[in-house]
Amino acid sequence: MISIDNLTFDYPTKRALTEVSCTIAAGSVTALVGPNGAGKTTLMRCLAGLDQPVTGAVTVDDVDVLAKPRLAHRHIGYLRDLFGLYDELSVRRCLAFHAAAFGVARAERASRIAWAAAALGLTDRLGEKAGRLSRGLRQRLAIAQVVIHKPKVLLLDEPASGLDPEARMELSRFIVNLNGEGMTILVSSHILAELEDYSTDVLIVSGGRIVDHRHLHDRAGEGLSGRSAWLALRFVGETTAAAVEASLRRHDAVRDVLPDGDLVRFRFVGTAEERAGLLAALVADGIAVASFGEARDLVQDAYLKSVRRAAAAPEVRP
């Protein structure tokens, strides 16, 4: 869906991105993480066609973003970190303006406004002025504005910044729902635990380069649905990682086993009862289980390892 080829971006006195290349698969939710100043926002702005790189190419759904930015914008929704709203306009007019600005046909606009308002929980706020909304509602309106044309690619730069915990949970739900509508989503955030909830992939940027790009889940939101989730098992005593892996692989519901020291992460597809049965079977196999639960640190783990590796060996390239 998104193809980045050899992208280099300079500010007048600083190189922000160096020969960045990667492909982001259609239907994925990719967590874009990295330290401050790593080039995340610059990368997003180049993907959106807002900033022109020195060299390189970006295509979104086979449209060259740099050569035909206005055409590419048909497929892109981008929410910047410090977004603004037209405070004097009502929520309905804000959405109507964006629908028209993004080329939604006149006949479809009313239904599209209703859809976006419903998707973001704004249906009962359509008559209110944007300037009177709370921080969380403003965030929802901002997202509704950028998805009203149903883009194929949604770029969210620090969307959870400044939100309270409840609003963050709602944001996670919105992202999962929008992904369910078929949108490919790239989301940057410093709150790694939150990205675990919905990310299928992680793209780690450091010093203007991609230091890791890995697949986490098959579908965003599986962890929330209860059907499929990444689980983590920590063992102690005489138990070995090989024994744990062997025991896990005997179960059809277990996929993608990833041993890591005294921790084994694996994907589990099944109900809560089946999960309890798996734990009982592991104990019966003689595995000394110290902890067993949902893995909440996949993005964080990948991030820390990649950034440390990059720091230790600066020549590492994606």
């Binding site: 500010y11 190189r15 066609g49």
Partner: protein, 472 residues
């Protein structure tokens, strides 16, 4: 309907606001009618013999007031809205959203140009009626005056909008000073056109390629042409702001148009020129052309200067694909190229046998003057380019502008009687010196400015490379 125009209408034309403004304007017009009309004549017996038909007198007064109100609403207030149209979006954090939309550059330009000052236009349209119906003179004259007002307003808005956009392109943060500057430029442009509505006083004969034109029509055509090119400038700047690939070809067409216009212009019929000792007509046209090119070049150097990165990109493109690099060439360089053409044209014209002998006998060095002027322009534009290439540029740009002002105005006046002409040649074209003494000083200064620009661009390139090597 253009969504950007619609959004502006939603924001700018609330019913209460429109009602209040219309009521204030109508009160002023009624006041003018009452004061200037029969009431005034009633108060001052004998006035009716002086003014003739009192009703007609009142109507003319109302029309005059309406014309003044039009200027206030459109040129003062509307221009402020146009200046702020993009800068306020940047301040509110909504500009990136607009850049990301599918609204094209032309729709975005006119949506903002007409939409941001929408309230001023709506009130103005109400006031236009008495200004047109009751204005002094014939119907054709009233129409011409109204055309001037409308053109002046559009030009003022377009100029202020262009300045605002140029700051947006340079990522200058929003500040009152930036908006005030754009507003001021717009007002100056607007009032310059507005004040030219009465033509030129005195016996005037303006010629264009041998055709003598009535000054009123000539000025109206000139105002229309200026407004047209300002609108084109807005569109081209908006293309850049929306990251639509934009080559400088339209700028080159504009320069060619300007060259053709000035080459064919005969100003020897102007009252201030009639009777003066004049150089050959061709040389005079070449000087006019040179001046026009230099004004355009300075404007380009200030409005669309490349930063250090822009120069690096251009230099890199020149090394790899010189022909393609033409599309990335900083536009003020094209201005200098056309100015060089005007210099050559002037030198050729000077050799023609139609010169006026009195002028030839004068002490003015006609050959060296355009060359020296051209060298000073190279110096100034390269200095400006160097200032804009420095990352922390604001203070340096102002410094260069102050230096240019000192060089041409203050220092020559202050030092004119103190230092020899050879020294003054470093500040202004010293028109009485011999050719080398006149040309070498500005040429040397231009060379220094070039070295400075190259050094700044190279230094920033080294900084970027060093930073990238440290990071990776």
């Amino acid at each position: 309907m253009n969504p950007e125009f619609t959004r502006n209408l939603w924001l700018e034309t609330g019913p209460f606001r429109l009602f209040a403004l219309a009521a204030a304007a109508l009160a002023l017009l009624v006041g003018a009618y009452l004061v200037a009309g029969p009431a005034l004549i009633g108060v001052l017996p004998g006035l009716n013999q002086l003014v003739g038909d009192p009703t007609q007198f009142a109507r003319v007064a109302v029309a005059g007031m309406a014309e003044g109100l039009l200027a206030v609403f459109l040129i003062l207030w509307g221009t402020r809205s146009a200046a702020d149209a993009v800068l306020s979006e940047i301040g509110a954090g909504t500009w990136d959203g607009q850049r990301l939309s599918m609204i094209g550059p032309w729709a975005m330009s006119w949506g903002k140009l007409l939409g941001a000052p929408a309230a001023a236009w709506i009130i103005a349209l109400v006031i236009l009626v008495p200004a047109y119906l009751w204005g002094a003179g014939t119907e054709a004259e009233a129409l011409r005056r109204l055309a001037f007002i409308l053109l002046a307003a559009i030009a003022a808005h377009a100029a202020a909008f262009a300045i605002g956009l140029s700051f947006a392109l340079r990522r200058e943060t929003r500040s009152r000073a930036v908006v005030a500057f754009a507003h001021l430029v717009g007002i100056l442009v607007g009032f310059a056109l507005f004040s030219s509505r009465d033509g030129i006083d005195g016996p005037v004969a303006l010629g264009l390629y041998g055709h003598v034109l009535p000054p009123e029509r000539f000025m109206l055509a000139l105002a229309a042409i200026a407004t047209f090119w300002l609108l084109v400038a807005d569109y081209r700047l908006m293309r850049q702001a929306l990251a639509v690939p934009t080559a400088p070809w339209v700028w080159i067409v504009f320069l060619a148009f300007l060259a053709a216009l000035t080459a064919g212009l005969d100003i020897t019929g102007l009252p201030m020129i009639v009777g003066a000792v004049m150089p050959p007509k061709g040389y005079l046209a070449a000087l006019l052309m040179l001046l026009a090119m230099l004004v355009a070049t300075y404007a380009a150097a200030v409005v669309l200067p490349p930063d250090a990165l822009g120069w690096r990109r251009w230099a890199s493109a020149m090394r790899r694909r010189p022909l393609r690099a033409l599309a990335r060439t900083p536009i003020f360089l094209y201005g200098l190229l056309f100015a060089a053409g005007a210099v050559v044209y002037g030198l050729v014209a000077l050799g023609q046998p139609d010169g006026v002998s009195m002028w030839r006998l004068s002490s003015i060095n006609g050959e060296a003057f355009p060359i020296a002027l051209f060298c000073f322009a190279i110096r100034d534009t390269l200095l400006l380019a160097a200032a804009f290439a420095v990352p922390e540029k604001r203070g340096r740009v102002i410094g260069v502008l102050v230096f240019i002002g000192l060089s041409y105005l203050v220092l020559p006046l202050a030092l004119g009687r103190v230092v020899p002409a050879e020294v003054l040649a470093f500040l202004v074209p010293a028109i009485t010196l011999d050719t080398m003494a006149m040309i070498v000083p500005p040429a040397a200064e231009a060379l220094v400015a070039l070295i400075l620009l190259v050094a700044i661009v190279r230094r920033t390139a080294r900084t970027v490379r060093a930073g990238a090597e440290r990071a990776g």
